[in-house]
Amino acid sequence: MKKFLYYIAVFLTVITISCNEDFSVRGPFDDEYVFDCILRCDTTTQFATISRTYEVANFNPLTNTVNPVVKNAKIKLFYKGSVYTMRDTVLPLTDPHYNTPVSCYCVKNMQIDAGQTIDAEVTMPDGKVITASTKTLPANEAQYEGPYTIPEFDPHKALWLDHVTFMWMLPSYMKDPYSAKLYYAPQLTIEYYKKENGNSILMKKIVPDDYIVSGDKLVPHYPEPRHVGICTYDTAIVGRAMREISENDSNKSNYLIIKVFLTVLMFDENLAPYYAADQTFDSGASLNLSPPDLSSINGGKGIFGSFMKITKNVNLYDWFLDRFGYQYANAN
């Protein structure tokens, strides 16, 4: 019995002194470089940023006040047999979180063409090298289903539709368009001149695909990038955007509509999943608890991708435009 009581006493002592056990939520710091570079086909100046991973004492990364940007790295882009070197630059922009000027790297006179492979090699100030590679899409092969008119006429049913549908595709990805890992960002733009004090000012109006009620206001909603090459605009929404051009201006003849066109940005096979992963998570289309950590950088984090742009003009019928009282440069 004494032995039994002894064991009980030892047991109780052990469990009582072990009432609290610490452990580390924080693992060994994962010190990595983050290289972001999205090559644009609509400009000849290309930008990149480099930053570093960081730690915070309290597990709230928003409390980090030290901008993790990395300067003095050497970035080389290998493109069409040439080497483009990106230089340290400070932009006239302020980082909203760190409240510091935006530091980045840039290279001028680099025009990105369709169907090209571009390699990147980044040598960090400490000598570490990270690499990445991407291939621009064959956007010069892109095909529209058009021609498009607003409003759209259905010749089979012989009636005017209340919407206009745009469709486009890349023949290289036609075999299985739904499994192609591509993303498209469409944008419908109205380009017009507005006369002000005798001068004509070139202006643009981006057409939303919907208006959403927010409180007591209607807020425009623009089409989100999508996986499939199709987007639809209600004729009424286009009409509303048309009216907004001259809102509060009774003299409608001050407005000359130059053209209406659809622009589609086509994300390459690196950029598409990077964008899609965040969008899929943010939109609730995934049941995962956190977005995937997707990176296209060898030896680091970040994104090295490109997008191409294709445009398609849209014809407007006179009788449609007459509703708004505007002039039209290319009247039908």
Binding site: C19, R26, F29, D31, I38, F47, T53, A285
Partner: protein, 750 residues
């Protein structure tokens, strides 16, 4: 392919055993009679499952099934025999029965509960049962086991399971459990044969089953027979009380969380029982939820109506049963989401014994589960899940004169699932589907050979829920060999399939409800193979050692696709899993002490998308100890200590500012749109501190005339162990499980 080979071997082996049993049946006694009957509690008239019925003179006997029925065959006819009946918690009873030639004599036996007579308990039947019956990985849990032990707030059926070796708890604040490395959704919970799809109240803190309504619980940790299917890991079969056939009776009790009441009584040729429970205060729940107030509101209610007409159908019993539970979390704030979920069951059962050693049962039920998460004006997305299950089934058991049993059945199930998820535009996508499952099962229990017992059976899925027309065979075998009166060896093997799964991230700390769907057609339904072996040692009449080892392989494990980048990518991918381990338990039951000590050692490994990892519930070592001490004069005390070595977690290795793209038409976004992203270490490679907790209970039963009062004082986490629950990265705070917590329950019965 491997499964096909194994299945062929199974049929060869079964054929061999069956031929052996046929040889032994050739020695049947001619001109014999049989005794068939039912054993009941004399005070409540409830049937008594697993009571021992024997004829000492002939050294033969049987056990009642979970409906209280038994049959003893091959009794030499034309004379009187003394039959002896005993059951844990009841005075033993004997009576003389005259056995007629080639006839079955029906008897109805009433046992008197021990607490009415005070003391003298007979427990020898527990040992006999273990020797004679196939009980691998199986446990009959009595309500007394549940109510006598320390309780969180009130006695809980699912929490009581966590004392079983091989069962891993999801934590103090959850009644969810994991059995031998299987996920939570691999556990089948049956309420009078009908499945409960979401058996949890209040964020999973309590089960929806009120123990007051329960008559018997069978729990299988694996290796379950061909009569059960649809889940990979475990089965819990709950049979509710029938109600008092003689007197009206009622009870009411109140805890710090709920108030509940039960009423039962006779109806012409039958009985009824109705019970209800509702939450009335959230104060105690704050202790479970790190002092956060969550406006949890729930209730559950059930009923059962039994009818047995001695003239119209003297050997039949008809039952209608129903169950409903409802939970609601409403913050009364338009910026906070609202949650609603409910379970409903309505069913009927016709049990028929007839004048032959044939038991047949026809059951039908309709189950519905709905769960809805409404964001209101908040940012949470809308989600709604619905499961409708209509099932009809027939079960037949035929007992041979040599006690062997042939059983079989047909089950037809039609299941509709809907899972509506909203996208960022508010459009609803439905991931649900509909399917029908037709399954035939059959099995043969070989009990006539003295030392060897076997249960060989198979389920034949003639059509699958997931794929109409797809067939799948689930052969099973369960063996026991009594080496001598002290030592028994046991083994089980089987293939199990599951076509209904839940879709949720297994790393979620506490899910409100897990949405069910039929396995989508782009992945194969999960299946598992159980290999179990072990031995029982009966040291003496009161002391028992049970050891089991297991190896479980799971194929086509449905897991969330962590590489879902595009909305069109599949939500689920097929993985695989394996778990293995050993369990050793020691139990001692001699008045006034009832003690159990167990140790389990286990490994669980999953492989999804080429990544091998230990799931969050992989607990390497677990020790569980409970003791109940009857102090006499209505006083009793109990203690429970649970230890579990640290479970896996993933460390945070840093952060980086990730480029978030919204509008690439705006060139400045590239420079200005970054948000912090957490870098995690290798998945679940670290271990949390060990878990352990000591709970104590002191209870007193009082009888004032016809009024019975139970007072129940519990102290949870006596030495205030700070068991880790989760780390709140928003506040950088460690959140622990239940602290030192005294609770008091009062129960009143009339």
């Amino acid at each position: 392919m491997q499964i096909k080979k194994i299945t062929s071997l199974f049929f060869l082996f079964s054929g061999f055993l069956f031929s052996q049993s046929e040889l032994s049946t050739g020695t049947e006694i001619q001109n014999s009679g049989a005794i068939k009957g039912i054993v009941r509690d004399s005070s409540t008239t409830e049937v008594l499952p697993y009571a021992s019925v024997s004829i000492p003179e002939l050294k033969i006997g049987a056990y009642t099934d979970n409906r209280g029925y038994f049959i003893i065959q091959s009794i030499p006819e034309k004379r009187k025999y003394r039959i002896s009946v005993s059951c844990v918690g009841y005075s033993s009873y004997s009576k003389y029965v005259y056995v007629k030639e080639n006839e079955i004599t029906n008897v109805e036996i009433y046992l008197t509960p021990i607490d009415i007579e005070m003391k003298t308990i007979i427990k020898t039947e527990k040992r006999e049962k273990s020797i004679d019956q196939l009980s691998i990985s199986q446990k009959n849990i009595s309500i007394k086991d549940i109510t006598d032990l320390p309780k969180g707030v009130e006695a809980d059926v699912l929490r009581a399971l966590q004392l079983q070796p091989g069962v891993q708890s999801a934590g103090d604040v959850s009644a969810r459990y994991y059995v031998r490395g299987g996920s939570n959704n691999e556990n089948l919970i049956l309420f009078n044969d009908a499945p409960i799809y979401n058996p949890f109240h209040a964020l999973g803190i309590f089960s929806v089953i009120d123990p007051e309504t329960v008559n018997s619980i069978d729990f299988y940790k694996g290796g379950f027979g061909a009569q059960y299917g649809g889940r990979l890991s475990s089965v819990m079969n709950i049979v509710t009380k029938d109600g008092n056939q003689n007197n009206f009776a009622g009870s009411a009790s109140i805890s710090q969380l709920t108030a509940k009441a039960m009423f039962q009584g006779p109806i012409p040729n039958g009985s009824f029982i109705v019970s209800g429970r509702a939450s009335y205060s959230n104060a105690i729940l704050k202790k479970f939820l790190n002092n956060n107030t969550v406006p949890i509101d729930f209730y559950d209610m059930s009923f059962k109506l039994n009818y047995s007409d001695p003239e119209f159908a003297p050997t039949s019993k008809f039952s209608i049963f129903g169950f409903n539970s409802q939970d609601k979390i409403d913050y009364m704030n338009q910026l906070q989401p609202t949650y609603n979920w409910s379970n409903s069951i309505i069913g009927g059962n016709w049990f028929h014994t007839g004048d032959s050693p044939l038991f047949s049962e026809v059951t039908f039920y309709y189950c519905r589960f709905t769960g809805e998460q409404s964001p209101n004006l908040g940012s949470t997305r809308y989600m709604k899940n619905e499961v409708k299950d209509i099932t009809g089934k027939v079960d037949v058991h035929y007992i041979y004169e040599n006690n062997n049993e042939l059983y079989g059945g047909l089950k037809i199930t039609d299941i509709y699932t809907a899972l509506f998820l909203s996208d960022s535009q508010g459009f609803l996508n439905d991931l649900g589907s509909r399917g029908s499952n037709i399954v035939v099962y059959t099995g043969y229990k070989l009990l006539c050979i003295n030392n060897l017992k076997a249960d060989i059976g198979t389920r034949i899925n003639l059509s699958g829920l997931a794929r109409w027309g797809s067939k799948f065979l689930e052969p099973r075998i369960n063996l026991k060999y009594n080496v001598n009166p002290v030592l028994s060896l046991k083994a089980a093997w089987g293939i199990y399939q599951q076509e209904l799964i839940t879709m949720s991230d297994e790393n979620e700390i506490n899910t409100i409800f897990e949405p069910w769907i039929i396995v989508p057609d782009y992945i194969n339904p999960p299946n598992s193979i159980h290999y179990i072996g072990g031995f029982d040692i009966y040291l003496d009449e009161n002391t028992f050692i049970d050891a089991e080892g297991y190896f479980k392989i799971t194929n086509n494990l449905a897991a969330l696709n962590k590489e879902k980048y595009f909305p069109t990518d599949r939500d689920l991918v097929s993985g695989s899993g394996k778990s293995y381990g050993g369990e050793l338990s020691f139990s001692y039951n001699k008045e006034p002490v009832n003690l159990m000590l167990s140790y389990s050692y286990s490994w669980t490994i999953k492989k999804v998308l080429e990544l091998e990892y230990y799931p969050r519930y992989d607990c390497r070592n677990a020790i569980k100890f409970d003791v109940i001490f009857d102090l006499g004069s209505g006083w009793s005390t109990s203690a429970m200590w649970i230890y579990g070595s640290g479970t896996p977690y993933t460390q945070i290795d840093g952060y980086y500012d990730k480029l978030k793209l919204y509008n690439l038409f705006d060139p400045s976004e590239f420079f200005l749109s970054h948000s912090p992203y957490q870098l995690n270490g290798d998945l679940n490679t670290q271990r949390l501190p060990d878990y352990h907790r000591l709970d104590l209970n002191l209870s007193k039963k009082l009888k004032l005339g016809s009024l019975k009062l139970d007072f129940d004082l519990n102290v949870i986490n006596v030495y205030n162990r700070k068991n880790f629950f989760y780390f709140d990265t928003n506040t950088a705070e460690r959140v622990n499980m239940l602290p030192f917590l005294p609770t008091l329950n009062v129960r009143m019965e009339l």
